[in-house]
Structures are given as C-alpha cells and as structure tokens.
Amino acid sequence: MRGYIARRLLLLVPVLLGVSIVVFMVLHLSPGDPAEIMLGSQATQEDLARLRRELGLTEPLHVQYFRWMSHVLRGDLGRSLWMKRPVLDEVLHRFQATLVLTGSGLLLSTLGGIALGVASAVRPHSLLDRMSAVTSLFGASMPVFWLGIVLMVVFSLWLGWLPASGMWAPYGGGDLRDLAAHLVLPALTLAAASMTIIARLTRSTMLDVLGQDYIRTARAKGLIEGRVVFRHGLKNALIPIVTVVGVQAGYLLGGAVLTETVFAWPGVGLLMVQGILARDFPIVQGCVLVIALTFVLINLAVDLLYVYLDPRIHYE
C-alpha cells in the first residue's frame, strides 16, 4: 500500500509537467499580448518592444517555458505582471477561499445527493422520487450563473436573509457566522448540479443493491429498516458513488470559477479570470498548476478510498 502511494505520487510529476506544457502553450499561442494590454492604446512601438523584451516574450517559446519551469521547480512561480506580487503568495492566499467554497459545495452535494438518492430508492415512484427526478433535470441543466443570480435575487434582494456577495462583511465581521452567511448561496449554487447527479446515481445503485439476496437475508433476520438500508445497503453501494463524487470534486473546482465570479468570492477562480483578461501569464499559470495539483490529489484520494470501502480491492 505504501509503495502504491509512493508510485502514485511519483506519477504526479509527468502529469503536472504535461499540464504545465499545455497551459503554457495555450496561453502563449492564444491571441492577446500582455504588453499591448499593459501599455494600453497610447503605447509607442518602442515601448512595446522594450516591454516585450523585459518580459522575455521575444524569446522562442521553449526557452521561455524552460526558464519558467526551472523557476517553478525552485518554488518560484514568478511575479504577477500587474500586481507585482509573488504569484505563489497570491495563488495560495486565494486558494484557501476556493477550498472553503468547493469543500462546502462537495459536502453539500455529497450529503444532500446521497440522502435524496437513498430516500428515492427506498420508495421508488413515490412523490419524493418523482420530485427529485424533475429537480435533477433542472439542477443538471441549469447554468451556474443563472441559478446563482436567481438565488441572489430571492434570498438577498427579496427576503434579505443572506448577503449577496463576498466572503466576509466588508467592514470587519470576520467570525464563523459571518463566513457561513456568505457561504450559503455560492455553495448551494455550486453544489446544485453535482447534488442531482449524485442523487440519481445513488438511487439507481441503491435500487440495485436493495434487490440483492443479502438484503433480503438481512431483512429476514429481523433487522430494523434503517440498519438494513445504511449498514448493508449503502455501504455496498458506495463504490460507484465515491467514484462519481471524485469526478464531481474536479467539476466543482472548475465550477468555482463561475460561482466565484457571480458571488465575488475571492478565490483562485476569480483570480484566474482576472489573470486571463489581463493576460497576466504568471498568475494564470500559477492558478492552473495549483488547481491541477488538487485535482490529481483528489483522484488519488478516491482510489485509496476504494481500498477502505472494499477490502477485496488490492493495489500492487
């Protein structure tokens, strides 16, 4: 097991290298020149040429890439072109906010999704089941920004229960209660689609499991229904659910970009959008690297969870 983890961690290296090359190339080959954007429409040709030289943009791409990589390997992600701040500090600072948001989104979608799915499976074709089918259709097909704005209008503007945007109250605030209030709407927005997907999957897996012989045996032994459903049913249905939760975790990281923009959540997604618009290459590269790293770590965690859930699985 320990060897397996070590090998998986080693495997991260080529994956991250690949990601970094793709991101670097996409950014540098896509139209939009940071020098043009930084100097604006008043810039002279000489100013632009000088700035491009200073930024190292005149060299061949592979040279630029290797220089950047060699710095990255030494833990230096460069300085933001605009903010002049070290990229690593900036990205890590923002990443905490993203973790809070995606973490609660994941928790909400997993717990909510499993609860809904189990409830639907226990009573198939009941009102709840049918309602959940309909809302699933909505949840999975609703654009994040639209849902976000609807929730914002209802809960902030009309009802006045929750703040519309940001992570903390602008003037101080800063306790957990303040954070929770700001978190509800974005987390709900982010979680909605995943929750419905997890719910549908849980329902079908649970239906499958609940039809198995050992469930009938358990019931025949006279176990109470709750114990049958959770101890015997759910635990055995969990493996495909864990897989889809893992996939959804990645999806949530991506969805955070939109959610953060809608709700002015000060995370890495918002920073990335800002970086892309300003062609702030070091910032965008830093954001993508951190997100990619998280993504592969989540995959690793999912694989390890399999072993825990199903002792029959062995990794060599």
């Binding site: 703040p163 940001g166 929770a180």
Partner: protein, 520 residues
C-alpha cells in the same frame, strides 16, 4: 419515514441558518463602501491604464495641478503657483509649504523630480520598478526636471507643448513619497504613499481595499473615516448589494438597470457625460475610404441616436466630433451628421459606388471604454447594409485587437478614447495628427490633412488659451468635414448612491472623488 424526516430537518436547518445569519446590513458610522466593477490591479497610478486602479489610487496621491469639479480650468494642487517661460519651454512650480506625505516624508522639489524622473530616466533608481504606460506619451518631451530650491521645481521641455499643464493633472503625474518607493521597491503598488485625502490601510486580495482618512489633509477636512472598495464583477450582485444597503456607491451601472433604479426612492442616480469618444475608424489610406465622400456617406448612414437610445439605453450622448461638447476646446457651432440614408446613397454613387461595396469591421469583444462594442457594431452593420455597404463583423479579444490595429490592415474598426486631461490636444493630436500614424502613435485611421496638422502644431506652441480655442475650433471644422471616423458617442457615466451619501459629484474625467462625500 426516517429519510423524509432527515430531509425535512436539512431544509429546516438551511432556512434556520438563513435567519441565524440574518442581519447583514448596518455599516459602522463614517465608513463608506464603494462597489467597483473589477479589482484594482495596482495602486500606483502612473503604472496603470485601467479605471478601477486609478479611481482608488488617485485618492492616495495628488498632482501639482488639478481640475476642480465641473470645470476645465487648471487650478493649483500641490503647487500653489507656477510660471511658464515666454518660449513655452520651462514650467516652474512653487510648492505649497508644510505638506507631508502619509509616511512623514516632506513634500519638496526632490520628491517631484523623483516622481516624474522614475518614469523617464533609465538611470533613476526607481526606473525599473514598474511599467509606466504613459511615460513617453506624456513626458517624452521632458528634457529634465530641475530642483531650484526646497519648494521650487522646474520642468524643462524639448519643445513647447501648450497642453503640458493639463498633462500634469493626469494620474501619471502623481507625486509619490520617494522614501516609500525606495523602501518597498517592486512591492510599492501595494504600499502606496502620497499626500492625498486618504491613506492606504489594507488590501485584502479579491475582497476589499481599505483607505483611511488623512487627518492632516491640507485642503479640507475629510468627512468620512474610511472608504472600503469592493470588487464585484457581476452586475446583479453589485446592484443587490446597493439595494440591500451593504454598498453606498456603485459605478458602472448597467444600462438595463437604469430605468429600474430611477424608480427606486432609496437610490440617487447621478449622470455625467465623460471625456470619452467612441468612434468607428476608417482606414483613410485604403480604398474606398480614401474618398471623403465615402467617409461622409458612412457618417450619414449610421443612426447614432438609435444606438444611444436602443443599445446604450441613454448611457451615451451622440457625438458631433472628437472633443467633448461643453469643454473649452469644443466648437459649439459644430453640426452633427444627421441620420440621412438617402444622402449617404447619393454620396456613395457620386464616389463611384452606386451599388455600394463590401468591407470588414474589426470589433473587440470588450475593452477599456468600449461600452457595448459588438451590439453597437451590429446596429451599424445593419445601418450600412441599408445604404448598400455590406459589412462583415470580425470580433477579437482586446489584446489581440490592439496588436492587429498596428498592422495597418484595418478597413473599419471600432475604438474609443478617454482623454482624462480634458485638453483638446490630448484627443486630436495623438488620434489624428499625421505624425501619430500607427504604429508610432494611436492614429489608427491613418488620417492626414496638412492644414489640420498645422493648426494642431500651432496650438501646441500657443500658450494663450483664447487663441488655442480658435485654432482648435477651426481644426474641428476641417476634421468633421473630412470625416476620418464615424463619430458615434460620448459615454455617460452613471453612479447609483444610497441616500446616506451627501455631497458627491461625478467628474468628466471618470475619476471617482469620494473625498467630498459626507455620510448622513
């Protein structure tokens, strides 16, 4: 059923959480909260070109001279008086006494020299600390900044430029604390120090920038204790925050919300035409736009009023020429091209295009000052179609677009300009003088008229403002007749304020002067 109960309790808890977290309004007294469209990127005004950064940064620093509210006459700022040499080559300023920067450094001639020379002198210790986008544009003409005494400083120019005083009102001409710049080095933009009405307190990335009032402000006592700037990209979120009372001021009110806000008794809506012009550039060196009749035809063909009314919903004022009406250089006698498709068709026929022609219009998807470029261009496309001109729209990303305009391959292109300094020279010279043809300068229409050039040059050498006014008026008459662009609109800036806010006015330069605000 247990599941149903679990679900019910989850819902109840969510709702309860809402109530538990309920009170979300209520600002502490003396705190003004401003919603920005995007986060400032850098708080050193000479280093930035975007409005959000400038609007915050310029609260911290000041300039030698400035523009008062609603006037275009240059007035004293950090300098209490100045003299201009007869030949127009030396500007000497006398600084106000007893002003210190927020870090205690005294404001003196050395500080002025430092602030300007860091941008243009490669041997200056702070030269490499930032990119100064306006350095050449504004100060390329400055030979040296000389310290005459503790409180007297002189700018020596290579050649006369009558707009130089106006240039010194720009953000690029901000006077900064040399001590702070050298102390923080490349990190200075996150630790800015000036003499302004507010001093920098903190910057919580992505979340807020906090400024505190400068209790020793020399001009007048500042009435709010602190200003918090919050970047909120999403229009609906910014609006919701204003309506729920967590924001006091928002700018960049989207056109679609204006009607709704006008009805709202809790909100004050302010409008002000800005020193901005949005134009449809034509490549004056290319067929068929090398023919004046074709260019005039396009001016008649475009329905500016409809664009302003239907696309911009009143957030623009249709334009007669490049200079903002009402400012001192504008020609009040100037007539706009009326919407007259028949006249356009006639002119096209005279120019040898009775059945029109096909062309390409380059449009950026967005960009500083661009309002609604694609929607506006689409309307123009259909206007032009009606007179036989088939336009293909080609949309581009902003950075790519600016680069592409340097290739001189443009036929039609959509662009805008914010002068910021309110001097007609700063609009007409860079955009239309033939020495400024792209890629050297921003004359992307490749317009050239020797008479027009001569008038602008003469105006640069004249310090008498009445005389300059005459020269600029004549230049505008030539320009509008030549029609190198289709003059489309001037942006009307809109701010929405809560009723707490008193004493605030929008400024034509798009600056956001919150230092005049008091809170009820």
């Amino acid at each position: 059923m247990t599941m149903g109960r679990t679900l019910a309790s989850i819902i109840t808890m969510t709702v309860a959480l809402g109530f538990w977290a309920a009170p979300v309004g209520a600002q502490p007294a003396g705190t003004l909260v401003v919603g920005l469209v995007a986060e400032p990127v850098n708080l050193d005004p000479p280093q930035v070109t975007d409005l959000n950064s400038n609007r915050v940064g310029r609260r911290i620093v000041e300039t030698l001279v400035t523009f008062p509210e609603e006037s275009t006459q240059v007035v004293p700022g950090l300098a209490e008086s100045w003299t201009i040499s007869k030949d127009g080559l030396q500007y000497t300023f006398k600084l106000r006494r007893g002003i210190t920067f927020h870090d205690g450094t005294p404001l003196n001639a050395e500080a002025v020299k430092f602030s300007i020379e860091r941008q243009i002198n490669p041997n200056h210790p702070a030269y490499k600390l930032g990119k100064y986008p306006f350095a050449n544009f504004f100060f390329g003409n400055v030979k040296a900044v000389e310290v005459l005494s503790e409180e007297r400083v002189a700018f020596l120019l290579n050649e006369p430029r009558a707009s130089f005083l106006a240039i010194l009102t720009a953000g690029a001409a901000s006077i900064v604390s040399p001590t702070a710049v050298m102390k923080w080095g490349p990190d200075y933009p996150t630790h800015p120090v000036g003499t302004g009405p507010f001093r920098f307190a903190s910057w919580d990335r992505g979340q807020r920038v906090v400024l505190e009032k400068n209790p020793a402000y020399w001009k007048y006592p500042v009435k709010v204790e602190r200003v918090i700037y919050r970047p909120i990209v999403e229009d609906q979120a910014r609006l919701t925050e204003l309506l729920t009372g967590t924001l006091d001021v928002i700018v960049g009110v989207p056109a679609d919300f204006v009607g709704q806000l006008e009805q709202n008794a809790k909100i004050t809506l302010l409008k002000q035409v800005g020193a901005h012009v949005w134009y449809l550039g034509m490549n004056n060196q290319r067929k068929p736009f090398d023919d004046k009749r074709v260019r005039q035809a396009l001016n008649y063909a475009v329905n500016k009023e409809a664009i302003v009314k239907d696309v911009l919903k009143g957030t623009g004022a249709s334009s007669r020429g490049p200079v903002l009406p009402g400012t001192w250089g504008a020609d009040p006698a100037l007539k706009a091209y009326p919407y007259d498709p028949e006249r356009a068709k006639k002119l096209l026929a005279e120019a040898g295009y009775p059945s029109g022609f096909s062309t390409t219009l380059w449009v950026p998807e967005s960009g500083s000052g661009m309002q609604a470029p694609v929607a506006m261009s689409t309307v123009m496309q259909s206007n032009l179609k009606a007179v036989g001109v088939n336009v293909t729209l080609q949309t581009m990303e902003w950075g790519a677009y600016l680069a592409k305009l340097r290739t001189k391959e443009q036929e039609l292109f959509a662009l805008s300009w914010m002068a910021g300094t309110e001097d007609p020279d700063m609009v007409m010279y860079p955009l239309l003088h033939s020495s400024q043809w792209t890629p050297v300068g921003p004359n992307r229409a490749l317009y050239k008229n020797p008479r027009f050039d001569a008038l602008l040059q003469q105006a640069r050498l004249t310090t008498d403002q009445a005389k300059r006014t005459q020269l600029y008026r004549e230049a505008q008459r030539i320009l509008v007749d030549d029609a190198p662009w289709v003059f489309v609109d001037h942006e009307i800036q809109i701010a929405a304020l809560s009723k707490r806010v008193q004493g605030f006015k929008l400024h034509p330069s798009f600056d956001l002067r919150v230092e005049t605000i008091s809170l009820r």
